[in-house]
Subunit: 213 residues, 2 copies
């Protein structure tokens, strides 16, 4: 990971910056969806999409017929963001309300992945990113399915994390206000598996019934 430059220099809340690899990788490995922005004729676009991380590289995949992926196949600059919300921060004053969150913003240039071994590795890591244990259980991709899929790699040239994980920060003069103050924790919870109604006789595997994010 390269040192920070102006693209990731914070103008505010410098104390929320966490640029250690461990924090960045943990956030990237927890979220299911990232947001990718790119520029087309001066106009910013965002696409929410699935992804996975391998070392310092983010992989994206999509249909070879997708306009977005056709743009990315050319090798274009992108900015990729991942955000996890952990709590509402309910201060005594409206002004000090906040969210506890963990986010990563990464900059890089898209690269079309054409090496078959890298494509296969990315396919496996995509599946295992979403649900570990699934790759060796489900029917793996066929040649024709792989042909329809484009893989894009984005080596993170610059990347930073921001984390707010504190309690409320009210002003001294508000501390005795009769307003409930504290955190309201939020997290992604997993419901009961809903089996495909046309399937019977296949028990739910532990990697699904015990799934946590």
């Amino acid at each position: 990971m390269k040192p920070k430059t102006s693209r990731i220099e914070p103008s505010r809340y410098a104390k929320r910056m966490r640029n250690d690899e461990g924090t960045i990788h943990t956030i990237l490995d927890e979220s299911l969806v990232c947001h990718v922005s790119y520029v087309l004729e001066g106009q910013p676009f965002i696409i929410p999409t699935a992804y996975c991380r391998v070392d310092n590289t983010i992989y994206l995949h999509g249909s070879v017929g997708s306009h977005f992926f056709m743009q990315m196949a050319k090798g274009i600059p992108v900015c990729i963001a991942v955000t996890l919300v952990d709590a509402l921060v309910l201060a005594r004053s409206v002004f000090h309300h906040s969210l506890n969150y963990r986010s990563v913003v990464a900059f890089g240039t898209t690269r079309l992945v054409d090496d078959p071994a890298e494509r296969w590795m990315a396919a496996e890591r995509f599946t295992e990113h979403v649900i570990p244990g699934r790759w060796n259980d489900a029917r793996q991709p066929s040649k024709s399915e792989l042909k329809k899929t484009m893989f894009i790699a984005v080596e993170m040239e610059e990347v930073s994390a921001k984390v707010r994980d504190m309690g409320v920060g009210d002003d001294p003069e508000d501390m005795d206000a009769p307003v409930w103050a504290g955190l309201l924790p939020l997290q992604l919870s997993v419901g009961a598996p809903q089996q495909d109604e046309v399937q019977s006789g296949v028990p739910v595997p532990e990697y699904i019934s015990q799934y946590k994010r």
Copy 2:
């Protein structure tokens, strides 16, 4: 809302497009965080941030000292995305794995809000977007707090929603594979309120203890 143009025309999965106002507003009103992209010297940037919606307008707020908000004060094109993940879609084949999700992508131009009444309205709606009932309970913003806060409005010139809310879609030849198939529902759940440790004697209000997203 204007008719769709090339910025929101889908290249794939046209059946997932939902361009009715009700769907778009429901998604925008449920999420806590949006991702805003903008262009600076040809480079795409994304900032995750809080927001609220009023009619066809998305409001953003931040510090008057934020570089991002200083850019937006100039009136620049932005793309704003909101994404909610509802389930893992676990097909028999890896290729047909998917997520159930609801997303909105909106395009517009930033406008600095300088009318005091519109700023006050936005401040209230921000608070009520995050947690209804809070605005009339917490200490409302002072003049000096408002002075430090910039409000940006983005009228949605073009906007579209995408929704996947179906079961698994496997190929006929995979239907008898002994691989568990179905949905694994995901949702944001709310933990027990954690009161500020220096506060006592203030009961938790119902709008906090009963909070749902």
